[in-house]
């Protein structure tokens, strides 16, 4: 939804088309915010995909619903509610993670229970609020083209904190994610790391969902990381690919939506899924050619072979 009536037109002059993109302040803000989110979500999402915590990430994204409705009920800014509920959700999910011998199914049951409880609370808040929650659509699907200067600044701050925290935790976290038992035996605080990562994930999801909406967080959090991890097993390379793919997806999506009546979120999701499909096809083709070269994916590598 463009703010201006003078709609831009696509021509054959590519330089003119590109410069049109930067004519409006809202578009510059959208590109900057999208880039910041793509980098942060790419890095955090890469670790999330590696740790198989996609369901936890989705549950944290759903925390935005009780967050926004609770904030509306209490009369405080929606962002406070987002961050408060995402933090609480991370702690509730984290109860079951770590070294204690919990099966994957048991952990997912706990995650599902947390999500159901959060949605139920959000629904209660909405009905207590007595009316339609301000803008259901922007809660669900975000408003990438309505980012204010203040939001952009706050978003950049959160992203800087999240990326710095992830960098500080990266090595032990990678070890604990790939081989929890060996890491625990070496004295790595696996459980504390796991809760810390969930809190970090909550922070990233809360920041991302304010821009892309609750429903489309995964287009930047999961899909680029999944594509990259299908392509390569080397951590540094696949992290770089993840961030690059995220940026390409955001820029292409915003660029196309600028010249169309349909929202950026739709293009971002579709482009990112198309890249994922291509990556999977490419990985299958490569894997068939060099099957003897070993396992095709990082997470299925033999124990202790990645960290040396």
């Amino acid at each position: 939804m463009r703010a201006d009536a003078s709609s831009p037109t696509l021509g054959w002059n590519l330089a003119r088309d590109a410069s049109q993109l930067f004519e409006y302040h809202f578009m510059i803000n959208a590109l900057l915010a999208g880039s910041v989110v793509a980098v942060m979500a790419g890095l955090v999402g890469w670790m999330m995909v590696l740790r198989r915590e996609t369901f936890a990430g989705h549950t944290l994204a759903m925390m935005a619903f009780p967050g926004a409705s609770g904030a509306a009920l209490a009369g405080v800014p929606a962002a406070w509610g987002y961050f408060a509920f995402c933090g609480a959700g991370a702690l509730a999910i984290g109860r079951f993670s770590g070294t204690r011998r919990r099966s994957w199914s048991e952990r997912s049951a706990n995650t599902g229970a947390v999500q159901a409880l959060a949605l139920a609370t959000g629904f209660l808040f909405v009905s207590l609020y007595g009316g339609v929650l301000g803008d259901l659509e922007s809660l669900l699907f975000g408003n990438l083209l309505g980012v204010s200067d203040g939001q952009l600044l706050a978003l950049s701050g959160v992203a800087a904190v999240a990326v710095a925290a992830l960098a500080a935790l990266a090595r032990p976290l990678l070890f604990a994610s790939l081989d929890g038992e060996a890491a625990a035996a070496r004295g790595v605080p696996v459980r504390a790391l796991s809760i810390a990562f969930l809190a970090l994930l909550g922070l990233a999801v809360a920041a991302t969902s304010q821009i892309t909406g609750v429903m489309l967080v995964f287009a930047l959090l999961v899909t680029p990381a999944a594509s990259a991890q299908a392509l390569t097993t080397r951590p540094a390379l696949s992290l770089a690919i993840t961030v690059a793919l995220g940026l390409v997806v955001v820029w292409l999506g915003l660029g196309i939506s600028y010249y169309s009546v349909y929202p950026a979120g739709f293009f971002i999701t579709v482009i990112s899924f198309a890249i994922y499909l291509l990556a999977r096809l490419l990985a299958a083709a490569l894997g068939r050619r060099s099957r003897e070269a070993g396992p095709a994916r990082l997470a299925s590598a033999p124990r202790g072979s990645v960290i040396s």
Partner: protein, 277 residues
């Protein structure tokens, strides 16, 4: 309480949906596919929007979207990392990423239809979206309640028909495959069944109630017992108890939405089972 017609309809639909959710939830958790069930309940929303945009009955869209998503997750997830530890792909979390990517795509397409609806002036999509997401067990007509009950009973019968091989294939996939059990066909059939339960429950009582009833009673039952039939019975009993208690509570407290009451009680029972076992 029983004199109000909406309450009788709610109890009728709620009872059978609770039974269907208890049984399929028990298998879902056994197979580690809770995220798949959750994703299926979310893709109902774009399905309904697409149907609204095309001007057809939203139930067709609901069922089409859930079955399509189930199939896509099945095909892509199988290629990803099937049966890494000799368990179904879901049990090790290998399907997770695929589910995340597929259902995000479907939600993105839902956004497209939402915009289409808004720009074409068909309007009221927000209201319809809210109804699809949260349903209302108190807003069911008599016919809708009977339909919900009928679909739930059909799903229960189908589950009963495939229960023994499904149990075998879920616990020992390799052994089952070696014995000639058609494990792939079974997983596809179960995914389709789950899609039907998800679509019907979402349409009747809302996605929120579906997730709560799928996850919490079955999780509590798995905590308490590993015996299959005792577990299934316990999951059903807990789902029924949560539904009846929740509906009664929502009837008594006018400000309490019924879905919230049912889910809070179900999750409360689950946390109580953690203390017990």
């Amino acid at each position: 309480m029983f004199s109000a017609e909406f309450m009788r309809n709610a109890l009728l639909a709620g009872t059978f949906i609770a039974l269907a959710c208890g049984v399929s939830g028990w298998f879902v958790l056994l197979r580690g596919q809770l995220f798949a069930g959750d994703a299926l309940s979310h893709v109902a929303f774009p399905g309904a929007l697409a149907a609204a945009a095309a001007g057809i009955d939203q139930r067709i869209g609901l069922f089409a979207a859930t079955i399509l998503a189930g199939g896509a997750i099945g095909v892509l997830g199988r290629g990803a990392l099937a049966a890494r530890d000799g368990r179904p792909a879901g049990a090790s979390g290998a399907e997770d990423t695929t589910i995340g990517t597929v259902f995000t795509l479907i939600l993105g397409v839902g956004l497209f239809f939402l915009t289409l609806l808004n720009t074409s002036g068909a309007g009221r999509s927000g209201i319809q979206g809210a109804r699809t997401l949260f349903g209302s067990v108190f807003g069911l007509s008599g016919g809708e309640a009977w339909l919900a009950a009928g679909v739930a009973i059909a799903a229960l019968l189908l589950t009963a028909a495939i229960a023994r091989p499904l149990l075998f294939a879920s616990v020992f996939p390799d052994v089952a495959a070696a014995r000639g059990v058609r494990t792939r066909l079974l997983s596809t059939a179960f995914a389709a069944l789950l899609g039907v339960v998800a679509a019907e429950a979402t349409q009747a009582v809302g996605a929120l109630l579906l997730l709560g009833l799928l996850a919490a009673p079955a999780a509590a039952a798995h905590r308490v017992t590993t015996a299959p039939f005792a577990g299934l019975a316990l999951a059903c009993a807990l789902a029924l108890a949560a539904t009846w208690a929740g509906l009664t509570l929502a009837y008594a407290l006018p400000w309490m939405p019924p879905s919230t009451a049912v889910v809070v009680i179900a999750v409360g029972l689950y946390y109580a089972s953690l203390r017990l076992a």
